[in-house]
Symmetry: C2
Subunit: 221 residues, 2 copies
DNA sequence: ACAAAAGTGTTGAGAGTACACCCATGC
DNA sequence: GCATGGGTGTACTCTCAACACTTTTGT
């Protein structure tokens, strides 16, 4: 087959954007302004331009939706069933993003471009195969939290152990024993003490930050 | 952006096909008959047709190259850098396939379509980013062997424990202790005895096959 | 003194690893 | 009886899970 004569599918990048706010794991969805599935909530995404890589496309979307750059971003899976989009043949490369809620500057919603954070425990109905994509993203998220230090990208640079533990409890939706958690984290030896909490009506906590050299795969939980 | 006006990248599916033969882990490569990289060895693949899913495209290629269907097949990663293919913008969805060497019927090589098995320890030079794809596939392969029962797809339905162990030793390129290996496999409790070896000049081995219900994720090594 | 959260140690169970000898068969 | 691979148990170490009390601070 000649390269230029080949009839091509459309390619989109959809990014499942997670954050942790208000003691819950949340995901950013946008309201569709056009058919199909007009009015339904969907995972934000768009077509890949010819002059940008897949990752750049994901970053561009992310910047447009949340005003945030320099976030954790990783490719998930590529969905390519024939009839997944009623408009025609569309292949979607999905991405996972983690953004620290302190840094979010959501651009104000307009009628055609409404974006909203949803608690992953209370998700709306989706069009396309977005439910499948989201489930996949959730599975990967948990895996990443369990085996790698990605979780730290959702915390400020200086944090307390109890904040880290809380984060893990939210993501895994269960409680951990404070002593065991502390032991585990310290044994991994990638935190450094960087100060102490001030002006709190209880015993001040030590503050930690991540050492610069941390292995990518480690067993965390 | 209107759906039909959008200028689209080309999409290919490349499949890294592994087997174990002659006590080594091998991968199937094809010799490129056209520029660019004419004469170089490459991972087999081709353009995705509009009326086939990504997985179907991978299966079609696999059938064409090896004459085998019903193999283990899984998506790996999608490579989408702008300049990865000198012909133009090409996005490649990579797949991993495992095929039992007993079932291979390689179609005879012609001058334009030469295919050959390479020991993964002695790979040739590649064009494109195929080295990167292969490294990714190797990493995933090991992960899969460690945490899931995929390995069994490379064995006949009835096999000896020592054959299973040998397979693992080849994939991980190290030896395992026979007693510990046996203990581990039996403790997982997904093998059933299905007979006994005949006519061998040594103590006959028990033959096993996989139980029908086996969890997808289990720690094997 | 009280409220709030921080910090810390021990014990038992289970899994992984290291290691060596006897067994069943065909020739 | 010999050559070949098959089959099996024990002891040590390490990690994980369960569990409760004292400390430090601000008010």
């Amino acid at each position: 087959m000649k390269f230029d004569e080949y009839e091509k599918p459309a390619v989109t990048v959809d990014t499942v954007i997670f954050t942790v706010r208000n003691d819950s794991l949340q995901v950013l969805l946008v309201k569709r302004g056009v058919e199909p599935f007009k009015g339904n909530w969907a995972i934000p995404g768009g077509f890949v331009k010819l002059d940008e890589s897949l990752e750049d496309a994901a970053k561009r979307e992310l910047k447009e939706e949340t005003g945030v750059k320099d976030v954790y971003l990783e490719q998930l899976y590529t969905f390519g069933e024939i009839k997944r989009d009623p408009r025609g043949r569309v292949i979607t490369v999905s991405y996972l993003a983690l953004i620290n809620s302190d840094k979010i500057v959501l651009t104000p919603s307009t009628d055609v471009n409404e974006a909203k954070w949803f608690n992953v425990k209370h998700l709306p109905e989706f069009g396309f195969d977005h439910r499948k994509i989201l489930n996949y993203a959730l599975k990967r998220l948990k895996w990443k939290f369990e085996y790698t230090p990605v979780g730290f990208s959702l915390l400020p640079t200086k944090f307390k152990l109890s904040e880290l533990q809380k984060l893990y409890e939210i993501v895994f939706d269960r409680e951990f024993d404070k002593r065991n958690f502390s032991k585990k984290i310290h044994s991994l030896n990638f935190l450094k003490e960087v100060g102490i909490e001030k002006d709190v009506p209880y015993r001040p906590s030590k503050l930690y930050s991540l050492k610069s050299k941390v292995p990518e795969i480690i067993e965390l939980i």
